[in-house]
């Protein structure tokens, strides 16, 4: 909020970031960076009366310089690094990096690993959408939705924790496969969770999306037509709410998405309400995918979840525990194969995209044959959504700002990297 400096007069001037001085009957409001309606960013809003005239997002308050740090770290060390882009969606965020490196290595994960990755991706997607909905609720003053969404998110975080051992920072997909297999009683828990969540989604619709009060806030607010959405290059549920049928899972199926059965919810309205609905419907589809994947995993016998090239270097204890020759005990620490430490990736350029919770995430990886990457370029979904604020918000009232901001499910750390 910075109330102390906010009162110092019109338009502050940042070197290199000058914005036009507000004219006489206009009024400049700085939303952020320490503001309950902004998160980790600042939005310069020029207000004429109650109407926003010019919106300028000022970001970078969470810029942790990941692209640079990645150039000095080994290939495998970069997976936990890139997880911090958006730790609430960790599997989806790191998967394209792993896939890009796998493309350079010329290997492909075994089938079981592909299903396991799909499983965690969908669990993360549900958790991420619930997070976004919770924040959206609190932006509209609806604290109950925030609490419900965060409470139900715990269910899926628990699932992920049982699968990987960590609440948020899973580091689950690694080159050539995944870190470990599911516990034996996992499918039952997963089914219980999806059953519960389906029931809850209806209650969400009842208290939030069909609440007349909320509907009147969201309907016809922040409308994006199909062409506008394509022109701005937005991603994820935001474009699907505008009628564009684009989903990487559908257009370029990766992992197990080619084999499972699911739909892409597409809405035509393009307003904030449609974007909120798109998330809810997507959660429903994700639950279906989780069910299918879990059934597949149950039906198929345990086989390798790591590419043969890496698996053969695994320690004997690790193999024995996995194959059931020794029963598992907490004192055994599951470690990665030592080959990863000095992994050299053949030179080349590769590009991978994945549909993360908030939308498409894109990695461009370039290797010169060293143990470090030469260049890694990450374009996270929030990075591509932020431009929408500049073009969608003007013309709306100041009170619509949270309604639009929340509907894009914008997550500043994901932008800033």
């Amino acid at each position: 909020m910075e109330a102390g400096t906010a009162s110092s007069g019109s338009g502050i001037h940042l070197p290199g970031m000058e914005i036009a001085k507000a004219s006489k009957n206009r009024y400049e409001v700085m939303i952020g960076p320490a503001h309950p309606g902004s998160g980790h960013m600042r939005i310069f809003v020029e207000v004429d009366g109650d109407i926003m005239v010019k919106v300028d997002p000022d970001i970078g308050f969470v810029h942790r310089t990941m692209e640079k740090l990645a150039e000095g770290r080994e290939w495998i060390q970069n997976i936990p690094l890139f997880e911090r882009i958006a730790i609430l969606d960790a599997c989806n965020i790191t998967l394209p990096y792993v896939r890009a490196v796998e493309k350079l290595l010329g290997i492909e994960a075994p089938e079981r690993a592909r299903y396991l990755r799909t499983l965690l991706c969908e669990i993360n997607r549900v958790a991420s959408h619930l997070y976004g909905m919770g924040i959206f609720g609190v932006f509209l003053g609806h604290s109950t939705l925030y609490m419900w969404a965060f409470g139900d998110r715990e269910v899926f975080i628990d699932l992920a924790e049982r699968l990987t051992g960590a609440r948020l920072t899973h580091t689950y997909p690694v080159f050539g496969g995944v870190r470990r297999d599911i516990p034996d009683d996992f499918p039952e828990d997963a089914r219980k969770a999806t059953r519960y969540m389906r029931k809850r989604l209806n209650e969400y619709a009842k208290i939030f999306l069909n609440n007349p009060n909320i509907r009147s806030r969201l309907e016809n607010v922040g409308v994006l037509t199909k062409n506008q959405a394509a022109e701005l290059g937005l991603v994820g549920p935001n474009i699907r709410a505008s009628g564009i049928r684009y989903d990487v899972r559908l257009n370029e199926p990766y992992e197990a998405y080619g084999d499972v059965d699911f739909e892409i919810p597409v809405f035509e309205e393009g307003d904030s309400l449609a974007r909120a609905w798109a998330r809810v419907e997507e959660v429903r589809q994700s639950l279906n995918i989780i069910d299918q994947v879990v059934t597949w995993l149950e039906k198929h016998p345990r086989e390798n979840f790591m590419h043969e090239k890496f698996w053969k270097t695994a320690p004997k204890l690790y193999k024995d525990v996995y194959e059931g020759k020794i029963s598992y005990s907490p004192k055994y620490r599951i470690k990665l194969m030592p080959i990863f430490a000095s992994l050299k990736v053949p030179p080349g350029k590769s590009f991978a995209r994945v549909e993360a919770g908030r939308g498409e995430i894109v990695y461009y990886v370039e290797s010169n044959g060293d143990i470090f990457p030469y260049r890694v370029r990450v374009v996270s979904p929030s990075f591509r959504n932020v431009i929408a604020f500049k073009y969608v918000m003007p013309g709306h009232r100041l009170m619509d700002l949270p309604a639009i901001y929340g509907s894009f499910d914008y997550f500043p750390p994901a932008f800033d990297r």
Binding site: M1, S143, G151, R217
Partner: protein
């Protein structure tokens, strides 16, 4: 007779009759005035947090006093606020900045000086045939000082918040005045005692004319920025609206002020629409004629406040233009309709 006993008796009489139960003091400071209002605010804020927590699948305040569900939580918050540093930023208009919250709270309590809480004549604070009119007039004073707070704070969020507050004032005041004066039209009297006495038979005006009750209820929500009309302080774009710069005790006063206003309105609603101290009939005597009826009124008012607080966990907030639209396009016609219904009922002798 023992002179000492006599002296004690006189002191007792003076304290009880001339100080505690002297109506202006009793009503302004004790029931339903300052002390009760603070206790009610403490209880209601706690209830609000607990009710929200119940809907939201959690405990709410708990560890401070686990046996009574953390009911002392607000005591801790108030003490903390009272003892915290009061920051006066350099850019504010100091005098107005410091005075506005205090005046706001005092003026918020002022309507209680006008409402009678019993039908026994000696216990009227201001014996007047126009007590309803006076009380309604007093309720319109304190919101002006919220506007002043925002102006004195010299902060963009505060000013925007106070502008919104003044928009809200213009829209809800007409509604609440129209709604409350419907009672006057129905009973052909501005006297609250007469209004309550007419409801003694069980014909509460709120039951006979529910539209008027509904209209006033919404207007009170608007005036005290309760959900879904929490617009001047809407935190997601104006940090805390007019109160952004206030800290320590002054913010405590602000927070309490909103609840005190809600409390005063609840008492007015109780008296006008919910039968006041009915079904109890006050008889002469301090306890039976003053204490018990005022407690009954307070209890009914607490129920109304509880309902208002519960709405927080169900609704989000409306946009400013939507709230104003609701006020001008729906509620004012409704208020006029309620007024008409009231007149018709009075004409046909239903009341």
């Amino acid at each position: 007779m023992n002179p000492c006993y006599y002296a004690c008796y006189i002191v007792y009489k003076v304290i009880v009759y001339d100080i505690i139960f002297y109506p202006p003091v009793y009503q302004f400071l004790i029931i339903p005035g300052l002390i009760t209002a603070i206790i009610i605010a403490i209880f209601i804020i706690w209830f609000e947090r607990k009710a929200a927590a119940y809907v939201q699948m959690r405990y709410g305040p708990w560890e401070i006093a686990p046996k009574i569900g953390g009911a002392t939580q607000l005591l801790a918050d108030l003490t903390r606020y009272a003892m915290q540093e009061i920051i006066t930023p350099q850019t504010v208009d100091t005098l107005q900045y410091l005075l506005a919250p205090i005046v706001m709270v005092v003026l918020a309590l002022l309507p209680l000086e006008a409402v009678p809480l019993t039908s026994v004549k000696p216990y009227f604070p201001i014996p007047s045939g126009y007590s309803l009119l006076v009380a309604v007039a007093f309720t319109t004073l304190s919101p002006l000082f919220i506007t002043m707070m925002g102006w004195a704070s010299n902060n963009k969020f505060s000013i925007t918040g106070s502008v919104r507050e003044s928009f809200m004032i213009t829209s809800y005041e007409l509604i609440s005045v129209l709604g409350l004066l419907t009672a006057a039209a129905m009973t052909r009297s501005y006297d609250l005692v007469k209004i309550v006495n007419l409801q003694m038979s069980g014909k509460w005006l709120g039951l006979i004319n529910p539209i008027a009750l509904f209209v006033v209820f919404i207007a009170v929500l608007m005036s005290t920025s309760g959900f879904p009309f929490e617009i001047p302080e809407s935190e997601s774009e104006l940090v805390a609206g007019p109160f952004t710069e206030y800290s320590g005790l002054l913010y405590g006063l602000n927070m309490g002020g909103a609840y005190i206003r809600r409390w005063v309105f609840s008492i007015l609603i109780t008296l006008v629409f919910l039968g006041g101290w009915a079904p109890y009939r006050p008889t002469p005597g301090v306890i039976t004629g003053y204490l018990i009826p005022s407690l009954i009124v307070s209890l009914k008012a607490v129920v109304i406040m509880g309902i208002m607080s519960f709405l927080r966990s169900v609704y989000g907030r409306y946009r400013l233009d939507q709230a104003l639209g609701i006020a001008w396009e729906i509620l004012i016609p409704l208020a006029l309709l309620a007024f008409g219904i009231g007149l018709a009922e009075a004409y046909f002798g239903i009341i």
